[in-house]
C-alpha cells in the first residue's frame, strides 16, 4: 500500500497537523498578542516554526503541490514576523527612545550640528554688523509681516513694550497656537525635510534665520535694549533655536550619507543614518512643543530679566546634559 502513495502526499499527511497547530497559534498571537498563548505554547512555538521552515525547504524540492508550497511560504513568513518582532510594549519602546535612542542619535550627528551652528552664527553676525552700520538693511533680513512693531523707526519705548507685553494684549494662547502649528516648528521641520534635498536649502534656511535674529539683536542693541531682548529671547529660544539647529543637522546628516554612502549601498546608508536623523527630528518636534509652552506662558508670567536668563540657561544646560550624557551607560552594557 505505502509505496503506491505519492511521496509528497505522505510527506504532507505526516506533518500537516503541526502546520495547522502553528497556524492556529500564529493567528491568535497576531490577533491578541503573544500574551494570549499559554506558556506551553510559547515553548512549543519556535519548534513548530523550525519544523515548518524545514518542511518548506523540503516541500520546495519534492512537492509539486503549489498550494502546499504557497501555504507553507505564507505560514513561515507569518511565524517569522511574529518570532522576529520586538516584543516590547508601547511604553517600553517610548522609554527606550527617550532614555537611550534619542540622545545617542543626537550624539551621532554632532559633526553636522557643528556645521549648522557655524552657518547660523555666520548669518547672525553678518546681519548684526550690517544692521548696526545701516538700519536700512533691517528689512532685507526680517520679513515685514513678522516684524510687527519691531522696526528701526520705532522708539526705544515702543520696542521695550514688545518685550513685556501685558497679558491681556497678547494672549499666551495665540502665541502658543501659532508657535505650535506655524512658524518656528515649520522652519525646523523644513530644515530637516530640505536636507533630504541634498542639504543646500537647509543651509540657506539656517543662514537666513540666523540673519533674522542678528537683525533683531542689532536693532535692539542700537536702542540700548540688548540685555532685555536677550532675556525675552532666551527663555524659549534656548530650547527652540537648539531644536532648529538640530533639525538642520539631522537634514544635513541625511544629505551627507546619501551623497557619501561610504562602505554601504546608498539605500543602506540612508536607512542606517536616516533612522537616527528622523529620531532627532522627532525629538525636535517635542522640543518645539516645549518651546511653545515656554513662549506662550512662561514668558508672560516671568517678566524679570534675570529670571528669564536663569530659566533659559537652566533649560539649555538641561538639554545639553541630556544630549551629551543621556543613556550612555545603557549604550555600553546593552541593557535596553
Amino acid at each position: 500500500m505505502a509505496p503506491k502513495m505519492a511521496k509528497s502526499y505522505q510527506f504532507r499527511s505526516e506533518r500537516q497537523e503541526n502546520w495547522t497547530r502553528l497556524e492556529d497559534m500564529v493567528q491568535r498571537a497576531e490577533k491578541s498578542g503573544m500574551a494570549s498563548l499559554s506558556s506551553a505554547e510559547i515553548f512549543e512555538l519556535p519548534h513548530l516554526y523550525q519544523g515548518a521552515l524545514s518542511s518548506l525547504s523540503v516541500a520546495r524540492s519534492i512537492s509539486l503541490d503549489k498550494n502546499v508550497v504557497d501555504y507553507l511560504e505564507a505560514l513561515v513568513a507569518r511565524a517569522y514576523f511574529l518570532l522576529h518582532s520586538q516584543q516590547r510594549t508601547v511604553g517600553a519602546a517610548f522609554k527606550k527612545l527617550f532614555v537611550y535612542a534619542l540622545p545617542a542619535a543626537v550624539r551621532s550627528i554632532r559633526q553636522e550640528m557643528l556645521v549648522t551652528v557655524i552657518v547660523f552664527m555666520l548669518g547672525l553676525i553678518a546681519a548684526f554688523v550690517l544692521v548696526l552700520e545701516n538700519p536700512d538693511w533691517y528689512f532685507s533680513f526680517v520679513d515685514q509681516s513678522l516684524a510687527g512693531n519691531r522696526q528701526p523707526a520705532a522708539s526705544a519705548e515702543e520696542l521695550r513694550d514688545t518685550l513685556y507685553a501685558k497679558q491681556d494684549e497678547v494672549g499666551g494662547l495665540d502665541i502658543f497656537a501659532t508657535q505650535l502649528f506655524t512658524h518656528n516648528s515649520k522652519v525646523g521641520i523644513l530644515a530637516f525635510a530640505l536636507g533630504f534635498a541634498l542639504g543646500i536649502p537647509t543651509l540657506w534656511l539656517l543662514f537666513t534665520n540666523g540673519a533674522m535674529l542678528g537683525a533683531f539683536l542689532a536693532l535692539f542693541h542700537s536702542k540700548g535694549l540688548l540685555f532685555e531682548l536677550g532675556g525675552w529671547l532666551i527663555i524659549h529660544g534656548s530650547t527652540e533655536i537648539t531644536a532648529i539647529l538640530l533639525c538642520g543637522a539631522a537634514g544635513l546628516a541625511i544629505a551627507r550619507h546619501y551623497i557619501f554612502p561610504g562602505k554601504y549601498s546608498r539605500l543602506e546608508a540612508l536607512s542606517f543614518y536616516g533612522k537616527k536623523a528622523a529620531i532627532v527630528a522627532f525629538g525636535c518636534i517635542l522640543m518645539f512643543l516645549a518651546a511653545g509652552v515656554l513662549e506662550g506662558f512662561a514668558r508672560q508670567l516671568v517678566t524679570g530679566d534675570i529670571t528669564r536668563y536663569g530659566v533659559g540657561f537652566t533649560l539649555f544646560v538641561l538639554w545639553l546634559g541630556y544630549f551629551l550624557f543621556g543613556g550612555r551607560g545603557a549604550e555600553q552594557d546593552g541593557s535596553l
Binding site: 503541490d65 498550494n67 507569518r78 536649502p201 539605500l267 543602506e268 518636534i285
Partner: protein
C-alpha cells in the same frame, strides 16, 4: 456577485514582480508580496478618517465638559494638545502595539516589515512615522493654507516642490517606498494569508484503496507535460467559479488533443478526468524530482 468574487480571487494571485525575498537567519529564503500603492493609500485614508473622527469627538467632549459658552483658554489649549498628540503619535502607537500595523493597514491586510529581514525595531517605527510630518501633514497644510504663513517666497516654492516630490516618491521606485520607508529601512507588504486546501491527490489515494483508477494513462501520455502545466492545471482545478469551469473545458480539450486520448470524455466526467491526469502527472514529475530532474514545462527535454 460571483463575478466580483472571481475578480478578487484573480487579483489575489501574486504577480512575480511584486515578490521580494527575505533570508531568514536559518538561511531559508521566505517570499513576501509587496503591498500595492492603491492599498497603501487606502490604508492611510482609513487611518486619517479615524484620526479626524477621534479629534472631532474629543473637541465635542471638551466643549460639552466646559459648557459651550465658556470654552475658555484651557479648553482650547487642551484641544491643541490633543490634535498635536494624534498627529504625532497615532501611527506610532499602533505600529508599535500591533507590530507594524495600524487600523487602516489591518483592514486592508498590510504590514510593515524590515527591508533587510531583521526584526522591525521601534526606532524604525518612530523614524518612518516621523517622516509623515513632511510627507503627509505639511503637504496637506500647504494645499489647504495655500502658502500663507511663515516662510516666504523662494523658500515656500522650494518647500512646495519638495513636499510634492516626497509625496510622489512611492510612485518612482519599484518597491513603492515612501521617504519614511527609505529612512527607516522598512517595506510594506501584504499580510501573508493562504489557506491550506485539500491535497489534489487525496481522492486518488482513497480510490486506490477502494479499487482501480478510472482512467489509466500510458507513460508517453503522462510525459507530455512539465511542472508549469501541472501547476496551471492545479490552479484551474481549484477554481470553483463558473469562469473556472469554462477554462477547464478549454484546457481539457487541449490536453485530450495533446496526449491523443482516444475515447470521448463526456462533459460531466471532464473534471474527474482532469483530476486523474493531474494525479498521474504529479506522481510522475515528483518521482523524477527525487532523481534530481525537474522538468520545467512541456518544452523542457530533461525528462
Amino acid at each position: 456577485m460571483s463575478k466580483k468574487r472571481t475578480a478578487k480571487l484573480a487579483k489575489r494571485q501574486p504577480v512575480e514582480k511584486n515578490l521580494r525575498e527575505i533570508i531568514t537567519p536559518e538561511g531559508v529564503p521566505v517570499r513576501v508580496e509587496l503591498a500595492e500603492r492603491g492599498d497603501r493609500a487606502g490604508a492611510v485614508l482609513i487611518d486619517l478618517a479615524i484620526m479626524v473622527g477621534c479629534m472631532i469627538v474629543s473637541v465635542i467632549a471638551i466643549a460639552l465638559m466646559s459648557g459651550f459658552s465658556g470654552m475658555g483658554r484651557v479648553g482650547i489649549i487642551l484641544i491643541l494638545l490633543i490634535f498635536f498628540f494624534f498627529r504625532n503619535f497615532y501611527f506610532m502607537f499602533f505600529e508599535l502595539k500591533w507590530q507594524g500595523q495600524t487600523p487602516g493597514k489591518r483592514r486592508l491586510g498590510l504590514k510593515v516589515i524590515d527591508r533587510f529581514g531583521k526584526p522591525l525595531s521601534s526606532e524604525a517605527i518612530f523614524a518612518r512615522n516621523m517622516m509623515r510630518e513632511i510627507e503627509l501633514f505639511i503637504p496637506i497644510g500647504i494645499v489647504m493654507a495655500g502658502g500663507g504663513s511663515g516662510i516666504s517666497g523662494l523658500m515656500q516654492f522650494f518647500a512646495f516642490v519638495w513636499a510634492m516630490t516626497l509625496v510622489c516618491l512611492p510612485l518612482m521606485n519599484k518597491d513603492n517606498l515612501r521617504a519614511g520607508d527609505l529612512v527607516a529601512g522598512t517595506l510594506v507588504v501584504r499580510e501573508p494569508k493562504i489557506l491550506l486546501a485539500a491535497d489534489m491527490v487525496e481522492k486518488s489515494e482513497q480510490a486506490l484503496e477502494e479499487g482501480g483508477p478510472e482512467f489509466v494513462f500510458t507513460q508517453k501520455q503522462i510525459d507530455a507535460y512539465g511542472v508549469y502545466e501541472l501547476q496551471t492545471l492545479e490552479t484551474l482545478l481549484r477554481n470553483t467559479s463558473p469562469e473556472g469551469r469554462d477554462k477547464r473545458k478549454v484546457a481539457g480539450k487541449a490536453i485530450l488533443k495533446k496526449i491523443g486520448w482516444a475515447d470521448p470524455v463526456p462533459a460531466r466526467k471532464l473534471d474527474s478526468f482532469l483530476t486523474a491526469y493531474y494525479q498521474a502527472l504529479r506522481k510522475r514529475l515528483e518521482s523524477q524530482l527525487l532523481m534530481g530532474k525537474r522538468r520545467q514545462d512541456k518544452f523542457d527535454e530533461t525528462g
